[in-house]
Structures are given as structure tokens and as C-alpha cells.
């Protein structure tokens, strides 16, 4: 409470600067985490692709008919 008051005057009743900052950061981290799921997924699929390629299970070259 004291920290919040030091950070900024509570200009409006019920407004806590520290709480707003914490909520904002939490939402930001959640949004960032949601984004990170996409590159993690891409990395997993890329790793899978190259594993299968190295094992010879898939190929990127069409064999002669």
C-alpha cells in the first residue's frame, strides 16, 4: 500500500498503481506465452521432420518411376 502510494498518488478512489502494473505484466506474459506456443510447436515439427528425414522414413526426393 505504501509502495503503491510512493509510486503514484492514488488520484482516484480504489485505483492502485502497483496492482495495475502487476495485472498488466501478467496479461503481457500470458500473451507472450501464448505466442511462444507457436514457435515451440514449429520447432517440434521441424525437429520431427529432420528426424524422420535422417532415418529415411520420409524423403524430399521423388524416386524414379
Amino acid at each position: 500500500m505504501i509502495v503503491a502510494q510512493k509510486m503514484g498518488h492514488a488520484a482516484v478512489q480504489g485505483l492502485n498503481v502497483l496492482k495495475e502494473i502487476v495485472y498488466g505484466l501478467t496479461l503481457g506474459l500470458m500473451g507472450g506465452g501464448l505466442w511462444k506456443m507457436h514457435p515451440w510447436n514449429n520447432q517440434r515439427r521441424t525437429r520431427e521432420f529432420y528426424d524422420l528425414l535422417d532415418k529415411g522414413i520420409i524423403s524430399v526426393v521423388v524416386e524414379d518411376e
Binding site: K6, V12, V61
Partner: protein
Amino acid sequence: MPKDSHAFLGWTNRRFPSSGEQEQVSLFLGGAEQSKNEPNQMIVLEWLFLTIAPCDAAEPWQLGSQDAATPTMQGIIDLHHDIFFFLILIFVFVSRILVRALWHFHYKRNPIPQRIVHGTTIEILRTIFPSIIPMFIAIPSFALLYSMDEVVVDPAITIKAIGHQWYRTYEYSDYNSSDEQSLTFDSYTIPEDDPELGQSRLLEVDNRVVVPAKIDLRIIVTPADVPHSWAVPSSGVKCDAVPGRRLNQTSISVQREGVYYGQCSEICGTNHAFTRAPGNIGRLLSPLWLSRTTQGASYPRSKLLQRAAGAVGSRGARQ
């Protein structure tokens, strides 16, 4: 899992097109098809979820990067993803604070404006916290930058890419015998009204650069006239060709076979938009593949590349 499946998890076997052959199309993530001139070929997916199919040329309405074929490009994509995380963090945080401030200090809700002059603690925090974020960005950025700058001491093949108005000349000089000249050939873009069925518009050339996969390559780039730039997005390479007595060098190590496309990236005149840099990445230049793609095993280019393949093969593929 079937060993010889042509359509596995959305990845198709991509044929290296020689003249007159069609190129198979992969069904890419999001359903976009490769290029206007290619035949539509539906891929039967064995599993229901969409997966990545390698995307090595520009796609219509493409939003992101082409799929990485080299560790460099993978590093660039990963760095972009890392920075984007901070971008989203800051965007969401600032938007929330802004919306909350607009909400709470609306003239109807708060008719008497405040006269806040300063707040030392919050000013210190809002200076320190944003300066920490660039440090987190700088660490992976510098790591990638310095790793990209590493000079490959012992590349398997050195290829010279010489830019002209408005075509490229490629030179393989490494594996000549003493009485031979270097393998040199010109590479012209196939005109817009002249592509064969299956070829990408304004991306294909008549003679492609053929290089082995999973091996360090050195590309020396120079122009014969005006500035050019040799760029292949899938490989994460862009190297300026600067006139004068200047040879720029870049190294790549392509991790999978395929056909990779690039375009001139430095304005060089009226046909700048029609100068290309596509290349084939082959399986260590197997003779059979060479004979199919380089106009016959007895063709001089094939013989020299076979010799190169033998030399490269004896060194062993470096992963």
C-alpha cells in the same frame, strides 16, 4: 509408417525438375498453393492435423518467412520469435495501462483533473525495466550475429556467383584438372511468357546452381558491372555484389535437398526484378541424379560435378 509414402504428414516427395518435367506441389500450412503456374495436386494426408511442408519459394499472400533450410535461417527465425515475445509483452502491457487510464480518468468519471508533477519511484522503475528488455534481446541477437560471421575455414565447394545485367554467371573452379577450364555457365530467368507447366513464374532459370547438401559451401559474390545482391531467403543468405576489386564471401550449409529460389536484392537496372538465384541442392551429387538434371552423364558439366562429388564424398558429409 509407410516407408515410401509420397504424402507423409503433409510432406510430399519433391521432384527435382529437369526440362520438360512437372514439379510436384506440396500442400502448405494454411492451404496456400505454391505458385500460379503449378498444377494443383491434392495430397492425401495420412493424419488429420496439418503439418509443415517445406516452403522454399515465395508464396502468394505469404506472411512469415520461408521455411529454413540452413541453421542460419533457423537462427534468424528463432530470433524473430524471441523478439516478438517481448513485443507482445510490451504491447499488451502498455495497451492495458492506457485503456485503464482512459477509463479511470474520463472526464465524467473524474471531472477534476489531477495535478501530478512527478513520481520518483515510478520514474526509476519505468527507466530500469525497459532497459533490461533490450539486454534480453541482445543476448540471442549477438550470438546469432557472431555465429553467422564465422568464416568457414574448409568449405567443400567454393562457387563464384557473378552478377550481370541481368543474369548470373556461376563458376565452379575447385575440382578442375590442370588442363581444364572452370565450369562456368550463365543463368537466365525464364521469361514470363515462357515457363513450362509446373514452373514458378519469374522464379525459374534455365541453368540452376547445383550444390551438395549437408556440407559447408562458400559462395563468393561479385558483379561484372553494377551492384547486385545474391539472396536466397530459405537459406538465410544475402550477399551484396560490389563493383570494383571486391569479392564478398558467404557460407551456407543446406540441411535438406530441394530447390531454393532467390532474387536479386540490389537495384541494378531496368530488369533488376527479373534476375534470379535459384539452386538445386542435391544428395551429394549422385551420378544418376546428375545425369537426369544436367543433360546427361557425358555432358561436361556432369563430369566435372561428378569429380567434385567424388572429392566431396571422400571428405565425408559434415552434419
